[in-house]
Amino acid sequence: MREENVSNVNMEFFVDMQRCIGCKACEMACAECETNGHESMIHVNYVDRAHTIQTTVQVCMHCEDPVCANVCPADAISKDEFGIVHTANSERCIGCSNCVQACPFGVPKKQESYDLMMKCNMCFDRTSIGKKPMCATVCPSGALYFGTREEIAEMRPNSTPVKRFVFGEEIVNTKVNLMMPKGSTELKVF
């Protein structure tokens, strides 16, 4: 938590859902940013509040082959050379919500007031100048961590970062890592 606010090219994003305590500090931190019009681009939700207190936290996973961009009829979503999949270009986006429907992680949200799709861009304005994403600097549980693979391996010997997701017959490789039980290689969703 107290790490210096500096990044290097080897830093990656690691998400560990089991640690999430649902405090929404990440949402508040994200919403402080003017780039997003004070809307949070990270989403914390109860899984099933009637039966459990468990929450999930979702950032954009920055897919290698982003389906959100592939289904966009206006070519408004682009992936840059660093692998960051950007929010819709406001001049191009027609608000059709194809991406909202298509993303396997439920990330893009259409902001009705702007008639625009907005999504997490891994705080590109920060990470590109060596700062960590806002959410990862405030998360009190370590559910969100931004650092190197070596650091995470040292800190969390019982978990393995996974960036391959299998949705039925669809395989999605991502830039963002999900922490899974030690030895896991992929997350399968049936």
Binding site: M1, I21, G22, C23, G142, P157, S159
Partner: protein
């Protein structure tokens, strides 16, 4: 008004958490008792996870499946008001199985035999009956605790805000002392004191029975020392005062007629709000200093606009006993003044200007350094410069070349009169109010992560209000079925003191005999309309955490939370 403080003084002769949190990192077993860490002290979560990443076992004691309990190795869902029965049974078990540190007990403690004798009848089966926790779980907790080589026990208001808060605290400490795991690396014990200088306020002398440095206001030597520091006659120092709730009682009795408060909103934060309101109405003169006009300040004859932490320079002492510097970021707006300047001006108008001649906040801190010197909470070696250079300094720090004391008791020299750590007998006794036919359900109260204390700040911030807009009645589906309550149905909750209307949130994550309401709201949404003012005989803390209530569904579903009246302040 601090059960943890009273318990720690009895056991250690000193009122501070014994360790800083980095001692959690390699603890083998961690007990978190009555502390909804994830919602009330979220930054502690990652310390606990650091230990868990190294294989630590986590035991959470709470009537609800709080976020930390969801993944805990063991969750003891204790019935509110029965905590001391659990600790008693665990101590008894440690003795039976001889999971004790005899060397430590013999050489560094006193009172073990009496303490053990007091819980002789607290068997696992008996404890299961009383606490509602399966005896296998209690046994497992005691086994893990007894056999660990390193450990950390943390507790907070969940065990302290009881009419036997002190019993609960010493019950926890007894478990720590019995295993001798204190004053060593990764062997810790601490209460999680409140964030806003909850620790510092105590040793600075804000408590009605204390003088700076944790000195005792009834001790003639302590009085003499402080009178000399302040340049006054010892006889001019007042004697022991009343704690917060006792002040409300004394107003009722007509013994107190005037009141000055700073950042205090008892109409929301003290139990039995109707009784508190009656007291406020009886006051002849009331001056409230606060940064926003809170519900209580509406009863004031005069309101002085004070400052937020961001608007004033000073220090705060964290739950770890770490003194931290806070810097002024902005000026108080409009006619508002810093709290310090208001107090200095009051002193001046009262004719004591010559005693309050501080040039700046550092000069005030330097006086505290001298005033605390030689006391158990010795700040003398801590200067503004050292705080900044070291990212905070831990008291006791008696001299300028002393490094501070992150971990207490490494020297085994306890601050009690006999220099030993004291076991204190804490046999179980029932809470101040138990359920009966008329009031058949246990009510407990607490907090949510997006609101802070009485909400004077946080109920004004839109996004935080949006996160949890109104107090809900958390209730188990079986209990809801019994009373015919549906999801989000408005329920009248009443106790012997008052009633309120709350929408039901039916969840599996609470005991079947207990309902929960968070307390941050005023007026008809106040959980403290319901809570009792029964005080702990030693600490004088009221029993926020347990009483008996009645549930009556009102036959209509509450409107969606966004449209609720929670946005209005009363």
């Amino acid at each position: 008004m601090v059960s943890a403080g009273a318990g720690n003084k009895k056991a250690f002769g000193l009122d501070r958490g014994s360790n800083n949190y980095s001692d959690l990192e390699y603890a083998e077993v961690i007990i978190v008792a009555g502390a909804n860490v994830s919602e009330t002290f979220p930054t502690l979560t990652h310390w606990i996870w650091k230990a868990r990443d190294r294989g630590a076992k986590l035991i959470v004691i709470d009537p609800r499946v709080i976020p930390l309990a969801r993944t805990a190795d063991l969750h003891l869902d204790v019935k509110p008001g029965t905590d001391s029965a659990l600790y008693g049974a665990m101590l008894n078990y440690l003795h039976e199985k001889d999971l004790l540190d005899h060397d430590f007990i013999n050489n560094h403690t006193s009172g073990f035999e009496e303490t053990l004798a007091a819980v002789k009848t607290h068997t696992l089966s008996w404890a299961e009956q009383v606490t509602g926790i399966q005896k296998e779980k209690i046994q497992q907790a005691a086994e893990w605790w007894g056999k660990a080589k390193t450990s950390f026990l943390l507790h907070a208001r969940g065990i302290e805000h009881h009419s036997k808060g002190v019993d609960n605290v010493v019950g926890c400490i007894n478990l720590v002392l019995a295993t001798g795991r204190i004053g060593k690396p990764y062997c810790g014990y601490a209460t999680i004191t409140g964030q806003g200088n909850g620790q510092g306020g105590r040793e600075h002398g804000h408590k009605c029975d204390q003088l700076p440095g944790n000195r005792d206001i009834t001790n003639p030597e302590h009085r003499k020392y402080i009178a000399d520091v302040w340049g006054i006659e010892e006889k001019d120092l007042p004697g022991k005062g009343l704690s917060a709730y006792e002040i409300i009682e004394a107003i009722h009795r007509g013994e107190i007629k005037g009141l000055l408060t700073i950042c205090f909103n008892p109409l929301v934060s003290l139990p039995n709000s109707n009784y508190v309101r009656e007291a406020l109405e009886k006051l002849e003169y009331y001056v409230a200093i606060d940064f926003f006009l809170n519900e209580t300040a509406r009863h004031a004859d005069l309101v002085l606009a004070g400052s937020l932490q961001e608007e004033e320079e000073g220090t705060t002492t964290s739950a770890e006993g770490r003194v931290i510097k806070i810097n002024k970021a902005i000026d108080p707006p409009g006619d508002a003044k810093t709290d310090t300047s208001i107090i200095l001006e009051l002193a001046s108008r009262l004719g004591a200007k010559d005693k309050f001649t501080y040039e700046n906040s550092e000069a005030i801190f330097n006086e505290l350094r001298v005033a605390s010197k030689g006391g158990t909470a010795d700040y003398y070696g801590i200067t503004y410069q050292r705080i900044v250079e070291n990212m905070g300094m831990f008291w006791p720090c008696p001299s300028l070349d002393h490094p501070g004391t992150p971990r207490l008791w490494e020297d085994r020299k306890f601050k009690t009169p006999d220099g030993k750590a004291h076991f204190n007998p804490a046999p179980y006794r029932p809470p101040g109010e138990v359920t009966d036919n008329e009031y058949p359900v246990v009510l407990t109260t607490g907090r949510v992560v997006s609101q802070y204390l009485s909400g004077t700040q946080t109920r004004r911030i839109g996004k935080l209000v949006g996160q949890y807009p109104e107090p809900q009645l958390e209730i188990h589906p079986e209990l809801a079925l019994k009373f015919g309550i549906e999801q989000r149905e408005v329920v009248k909750v009443s106790t012997r003191r008052g009633e309120g209307l709350f929408p039901a949130n039916i969840v599996d994550t609470i005991r079947k005999d207990t309902v929960f309401i968070p307390y941050h709201w005023p007026g008809k949404l106040s959980a403290n309309l319901l809570t009792p003012g029964t005080l702990d005989p030693v600490s004088k803390i009221p029993e926020f955490k347990v009483c008996a209530c009645k549930l009556e569904p009102q036959g209509h579903i509450a409107p969606p939370a966004e449209k609720s009246s929670a946005f209005k302040s009363s």
